[in-house]
């Protein structure tokens, strides 16, 4: 293995193969972003506020283009609130006006009250541009891995250790 370091082209090719795996994954993600016009076309449900429709750990596929009709009441949307990093998945329950300036109000199916509490200070409705996308498909439970990893950081260490071990063992 180490002796292959003598040939710079071989090393460059091996590095390139590794780099291309990473960059291809990234560009596929970006391609999906461009296609759906959403900065984050796949999200994981983090709370139970949309039960029984979505549970924690469900993977949601988003679509952010209004090709045939605009975002309407009844659609489940993912939106960002200014000053908060975590996107929220809730249903549109009221809509005033039309077009890009329409005022939208959202509410979690499982919540008692609408989302005015969750919005930024002084904000009592959403605009179309706050929305990251409408949910068009979902995969149950698949996203639970990312929840586990972010809530129990030691799992990351364990996973890295296992991956490292596999790499070491496969070299032999």
């Amino acid at each position: 293995m180490l002796s292959s370091l003598q040939n710079p082209r071989q090393v460059a090719a091996q590095l390139m193969n590794f780099g291309l795996i990473l960059s291809t994954a990234f560009m596929m993600w970006k391609g999906l972003s461009i296609m759906t016009d959403s900065p984050s076309p796949i999200v994981v449900v983090l709370s139970g506020s949309m039960e029984p429709a979505f549970q924690r750990g469900d993977l949601l596929m988003l679509w952010n283009r209004n090709l045939f009709s605009e975002t309407n009441v009844g659609e489940i949307v993912v939106y960002n609130v200014k000053g908060k990093d975590i996107p929220i998945v809730h249903r549109v329950v009221r809509k005033f006006g039309a077009g890009p300036d329409a005022k939208l109000l959202t509410k979690g199916d499982n919540n008692a009250a609408d989302d005015t509490e969750l919005y930024a200070r002084g904000q009592d409705y959403l605009n179309r541009k706050d929305i990251v996308g409408s949910v068009v498909g979902y995969m149950p439970f698949v996203g639970y891995v990312t929840i586990m990893l972010s809530e129990h950081p030691w799992l990351k260490t364990v996973m890295l250790g296992i991956m490292g071990l596999v790499v070491v063992l496969q070299r032999e």
Binding site: S4, R9, I34
Partner: protein, 237 residues
């Protein structure tokens, strides 16, 4: 680049092929061939350009956000797909498993050889295709195809034995033979040799308590090595 001291696992076909592939440039360059790296360089250029593009895309996305760089990102995705497609085409249709391109020294004729190798899954046979292009000319003068078992140049422990491997190349490709007449002559000798074991001879050998294992080529180098070892021991004693 496994040198002959490195041992490989003889059951690992990738190891067998890679070690043999690495031995080809070693051998031919030592004969004075001038290696051309054009194929590899084009592949590396395509790959690294694509990677740089993805890295740049990551950088501007991280810095300026998605919405303000949307069109740039779309262009980058299209260009990346194109570059990656080109890279795939290059590897599949232009390189076609080429491991060596080089020009022979003018004393040996100055032709250009292009060697590609392949193995089939789970079959320990080395398929070598050598395309010889005439001096200056573009058209392929001759194409030599050789398929040999890896056992001819790997011993049981997985050590690469250079002599029979080099004889295989020198014996089957004219240009290489002219550049290395010694190995070519040996290869010719061995080509006449394998039929040499008649039943009577085998009997004699069996009585003499000599084991006959493997092909003639292996036997030839094996005995050489054994002699060398014995000689060494004697000297030490």
């Amino acid at each position: 680049m496994a040198s002959s001291q490195d041992k490989i696992t003889v059951y690992n076909l990738a190891d067998l092929k890679n070690t043999s592939d690495d031995a080809i440039p070693n051998y031919l360059n030592s004969l004075g061939f001038t290696q051309s790296h054009r194929l590899t360089d084009v592949r590396l250029a395509l790959g690294y350009t694509a990677f740089a593009l993805a890295a740049a895309c990551f950088a501007w996305d991280y810095k300026f956000g998605f919405d303000s760089t949307k069109h740039l990102t779309a262009a980058a995705v299209a260009l990346y797909t194109l570059l990656n497609g080109l890279l795939t085409l290059w590897v599949c249709y232009v390189e076609r498993g080429t491991v060596y391109v080089g020009t022979a020294p003018s004393a040996a004729g100055g032709e250009t050889v292009r060697i590609s190798t392949a193995t089939k899954k789970n079959v320990p046979t080395y398929h070598v295709t050598v395309e010889v292009t005439g001096k200056g000319g573009k058209e392929v003068v001759e194409t030599v195809k050789v398929s040999r078992s890896f056992t001819e140049w790997f011993d049981g422990a997985g050590r690469f034995v250079a002599a029979p491997f080099q004889a295989m190349l020198a014996g089957s490709v004219g240009v290489i033979g002219r550049a290395d007449p010694k190995r070519a002559a040996k290869a010719r000798e061995e080509a006449d040799g394998p039929a040499a074991y008649t039943p009577e001879m085998l009997n004699v050998l069996a009585q003499a308590n000599v084991s006959v294992v493997g092909s003639a080529a292996e036997e030839a180098t094996g005995s050489e090595a054994a002699e060398a070892k014995k000689a060494g021991k004697r000297r030490k004693a």
